[in-house]
């Protein structure tokens, strides 16, 4: 066996039939869970290990185990974040949230009987409801929404924050209603993804129940293979975590007694520094590139932990991040970088627009759908993501922050559209084997594009400040 085959066998260990068989023996299974426990020991996912083991022992009760256990952990964690500590209000909020989800479940279940206008535009209906709720909340003065002595306003705000948080998941529930698949699905099954302990963002890793069900293991040997694939992701997450520690020490360390080998900056810090003194080109380009790689790796770690856990529960899901740094085109990077966010934009913005407009103008059709998803949908998602800040503090994130993100989304949408057209033009042509230098040049182009684009997407973005910095890199001073 060649060295290449041996490496491949090692990295693809989860595809080894002998290992599948071994992992369902007592010793093999004990070893699997021991390794999982060691990896998750210092993470917030530790509490899921007993639930995963229970789901394996009682596969017929997997749904209930994930819902009751995972849902309970989710509510506990989120309500604690919102500083709901009283048992009464905890119960009140839980009832409101679960009741709210049940209401949407019933709506989705009776989809065929809904008024035509809602049936034709269920997602618009859903988002209109949210904005009506937001409007009503403004009847309470901002102070009331964060005053501990005014518990009703505080807890209604918490429920509305949850609604905004869960809106994309409820959207998937309505899609199940539209497709008619919800008729065979129970409410508790939908809570698997509607009360998501796994993943703390609005993006549903694993999408909705239709998708999850299509990826569910059906027998013990298949479960073993999926669990080993999950273990592989957890191991990868640990390796990347270690790699980031090294990068931190080498470039970003802020410890007094540990000066890094070569001082680089995360992007928001770099832009802040540049307003006082423009660093040298090596520091600027080094920071832009290394920070882009750093953030991509962070995203991969989070995604590997979440998808790894879902695989250990028995769902054979795609990775959230799959080698984006090896992508040779912008569209390829976008597909591999944050898969479930891209899927959210595709499901809720791209396809609805693609199916509705310019059917006889293929390029215009793709342009409209791409801009609706990568530009407008992307921006709208981020507005909703900041909604909790608005409801809790009463302060809107500044316009400058969103104008910067609007520019980011616009350029991203255009770039993806151009990349799609280029890929389409190359389809059907004979495959050309590029030299290693051409391949590296393509990869470098993708890295530079996204490293520069991130100038308009960081924690302290402001359009003029970001644009001034971008121009200054090329020697243009405003």
């Amino acid at each position: 066996m060649t060295l290449q085959n041996q490496v491949r066998r090692l990295t693809q260990f989860h595809e080894e039939p002998s290992l599948h068989a071994w992992s369902i023996t007592s010793v093999g299974n004990f070893s699997l869970w021991l390794i999982v426990l060691l990896i998750l020991f210092q993470t917030e996912y530790l509490f899921l290990v007993p639930l995963m083991v229970l789901a394996q022992i009682f596969p017929q009760h997997r749904t209930w185990i994930m819902t009751v256990g995972g849902g309970g952990l989710f509510l506990f964690k989120k309500l604690n974040q919102l500083q709901v500590t009283s048992p009464f209000w905890f119960a009140f909020d839980t009832l409101m949230i679960v009741g709210f989800l049940y209401l949407f479940y019933r709506i989705a279940k009776s989809f065929a009987k809904l008024p035509k206008i809602i049936k034709n535009h269920p997602q618009l209906f859903l988002h209109a409801l949210l904005w009506v709720g937001i409007g009503l909340m403004f009847l309470f003065p901002a102070e009331a929404r964060r005053d501990p002595s005014r518990m009703l306003a505080l807890n209604l705000t918490a429920c509305l924050v949850f609604f905004a948080f869960l809106i994309w998941r409820i959207g998937f529930m309505l899609y199940s209603g539209k497709r008619g698949t919800i008729k065979q699905q129970g409410f508790v099954e939908h809570l698997i993804y509607c009360l998501p302990y796994l993943g703390s963002s609005q993006v549903p890793y694993g999408k909705g129940l239709d998708y999850l069900n299509s990826k569910r293991s059906t027998d013990r040997l298949e479960l073993a293979r999926i669990q080993l694939a999950g273990l592989k992701l957890l191991l990868l997450a640990s390796i990347w975590e270690l790699a980031l520690t090294v990068v931190d020490a080498a470039f970003f360390s802020t410890a007094v007694d540990a000066e890094p080998l070569f001082r680089l900056h995360h992007i928001s810090e770099l832009i802040a520094i540049s307003t006082l003194h423009m660093p040298g080109p090596v520091t600027i380009w080094g920071s832009l590139i290394v920070d882009m790689v750093y953030e991509t790796t962070q995203l991969a770690i989070t995604g590997h932990l979440i998808i790894g856990c879902l695989r250990l529960f028995g769902f054979n899901l795609f990775r959230n991040t799959y080698k984006p740094l090896l992508a040779r085109t912008l569209i390829d990077f976008w597909n591999r970088y944050y898969f479930y966010f891209k899927e959210l934009l595709v499901d809720f913005f791209f396809f609805p627009v693609y199916l509705a407009v310019f059917k006889h103008h293929p390029k215009l059709r793709i342009f409209a759908a791409t801009m609706a998803s990568a530009c407008l949908g992307n921006l709208y998602y981020h507005v909703l993501q900041h909604f909790d800040l608005l409801m809790i503090t009463g302060n809107l994130p500044s316009f400058a922050r969103f104008s910067s993100y609007l520019f980011y989304s616009f350029v991203l949408g255009l770039a993806i559209f151009v990349s799609i057209l280029r890929e389409q033009n190359q389809r059907g042509q004979p495959h050309v084997q590029h030299s290693i230098w051409v391949t590296l040049r393509k990869i470098a182009g993708v890295w530079i594009f996204f490293a520069l684009l991130r100038i308009w997407d960081h924690s302290s973005s402001a359009f003029m400040q970001d644009t001034t910095f971008f121009l200054a890199i090329f020697g243009i001073r405003l």
Binding site: R179, P362, I420, E423
Partner: protein, 61 residues
């Protein structure tokens, strides 16, 4: 090259990507008159040749 069976996952095996999915949708619209705007697109329906055939059958009914 190995033969593709009717039940092989096309997306999973890397045989089609999201761009190819757009082409499949456009083909199904023009060749079979399927109107996806009624039901939306479920990528699961396009995951294998068999599932695409099932989708066409469902639409014909």
């Amino acid at each position: 090259m190995d033969r593709i069976t009717d039940n092989d996952g096309l997306i999973k095996s890397g045989l089609i990507d999201s761009l190819a999915m757009l082409e499949i949708i456009a083909f199904l619209e023009s060749r079979f008159g399927i109107d996806f705007s009624e039901t939306g697109v479920d990528p699961v329906d396009l995951e294998s040749i068999q599932k695409i055939l099932d989708l066409i059958d469902r639409y014909k009914q």
